[in-house]
């Protein structure tokens, strides 16, 4: 049984169909990528899984429980924790206290929570900023803080919403290493990313969305070859030319 199972998930906003009948699995211990062009419905799907939205139809199963429509905090308590695409630091608290809030999910008393927070802070290389107010960090550091905070909850499944968007080349490398290390610790990852290049080398499986529907699923190597994916990203015209070139 997979750690996360999405079954026939559909989300409508009025007449707008943001997600239509999407199903996929996230295997325990893997990195699963969720990609697609802007407006493909990635963030909506994410919000449905993490409990921010209640899906119109379909089911979300996590670790064997049906979590469809659960409020976000219950989903988080069960071990599926997310970050936000538009970062949401707790502005008036220090960087360390931000991480500490996450750590309190599993550690009830202060001393052990402090240890966990410390670990997670170091893991994300944020120890130099520990006493700064989270609101005063640069955007790149805020993204790292989101990650550190989510990690401090000691999740089973970590859902990252575009943590790598907007990072420079060197930062991107660093971030990819970080994700691999997280995976090595036994945390399952579901990563939404707009930039394909960042995900392809590290993902075990990739799910591709376009226009609210799943158009492909498989190992990264197969996905980059898939015509529908290329069409979705680069347009029909380019995809036809690519095919002509190949033949």
């Amino acid at each position: 049984m997979a750690l996360l199972e999405v079954r026939g998930l559909t989300m409508k906003f009025g007449s707008l169909l943001a997600n239509h009948d999407i199903s996929f699995d996230v295997e325990e211990g893997s990195i699963t990528g969720l990609i697609g062009p802007n407006g493909a419905g990635k963030t909506t799907l994410f919000n449905c899984i993490s409990g921010a939205y209640k899906p119109t139809a379909g089911k979300v199963l996590f670790a064997g429980s049906d979590i469809t429509g659960w409020p976000p905090y219950r989903v988080a308590r069960l071990g599926a924790v997310r970050t936000f695409q538009v970062v949401r630091p707790l502005n008036d608290m220090s960087v360390f206290d931000n991480v500490l809030v996450g750590a309190f999910l599993r550690e009830r008393d202060l001393t052990s929570a402090l240890d966990v927070a410390e670990c997670s802070l170091r893991f994300c290389h944020l120890e130099d900023y520990r006493d700064k107010l989270a609101g005063n960090l640069t955007i790149g550091l805020k993204k790292r803080l989101e990650l550190a905070r989510a990690l401090a909850t000691q999740p089973k499944l970590l859902m990252l919403d575009e943590v790598m968007a907007g990072l420079s080349g060197a930062e991107l490398k660093e971030a990819m290493e970080l994700l691999k290390e997280i995976k090595a610790q036994g945390v399952t990852l579901l990563v939404v990313e707009h930039v394909m290049e960042a995900l392809m080398p590290i993902a075990d499986k990739v799910v591709v969305l376009d226009g609210g529907v799943k158009i492909a699923e498989g190992p990264p190597r197969e996905i980059v070859e898939s015509e529908r994916v290329i069409a979705a990203y680069l347009g029909e015209k380019f995809s036809r030319r690519l095919k002509e070139l190949k033949t």
């Binding site: 905090y73 924790v81 809030v101 999910l105 402090l114 006493d131």
Partner: protein
Amino acid sequence: MRHRQSGFGLGCTIFGILAILPLIPGPLQGPFAKHVLVMVLLFASMSQAWNLLGGYCGQVSFGHSVFFGIGAYGAGMAVVKYGLTPWPGALLGAIIASIVSLVISYPCFRLKGHYFAIATFAIVEIFNRLFMVWYWVGGALGLDYPIIEEGWRNFMWYETKTPYYYGAFALFVLVFSTARWIERHRIGYYMRAVRDGQEAAESLGVNSPQVKLTAMAISAFLAALCGAFFVQYNLRVDPPMVMSLDMSMRFVLITILGGLGTLWGPLLGAAVLIPLQEYTRAIWGGLGGGVDLIIFGLLIIVIVIRQPRGLMGFVSWVVGHRARARGRG
């Protein structure tokens, strides 16, 4: 780890100084000075009770005089109607205040911004008028204490104010210790997380409605205890004395002046505002009334505009400035 323990020594020092304050000979010995000191400790405690919800948890309520009033009526009813000591009344009042606060705030927490603020105004006005016509609790006339034996059992004294001072001090220690305990405990971090971003907090497993309700219940409980002290000190209570918008505002203003969401802000705010108000009233009372409040009003305007972080902001600026100067030198 070090910065987490700092402040403990400061707290002990402050408690220690306040404990020996009435023993120091000099200007603090007069009955008026004692009265001012009692008021400072009472309003510092009350503002801290408000601060737990408004400052730490970010839910700005203008309705706290209702809980203050329920506590006052709890003690008052026990003494005046049932001939008991005020203690069981104070405790029962505090429990009822917590329950009332939960019943009221459960729906109100759905409201945002000004809608929430105005709802809390409305609640104060409703309670004020209901108590005005509620015959059982004395209606508009309120409750007047009979003359009974003084001492700690009945928590009342007619001549001396020193026991009242220590009563207020005990209350102060209770409220501030609670606040400090919360500040360094899981619930305290969760409260601040809810204040700074409900959505982010919930994504980290924080049950924000529950956190807000917990903060509300604790805050209302402590506010009611402060109200019970207030009635014992005045030996009478009526609705406008305790349940009014002006009373609610005082708790808010003292906290804002001192520093919202800080541990020592409410004490600092009360230590500045209460003497200012009491002394201006005493000195300029003959000028036709209202002078103390004219000054008070102007002061609020200046502080809100010039120093939004309150006196604690000023203090930390000075401390930081000196630390920087030391670092350079």
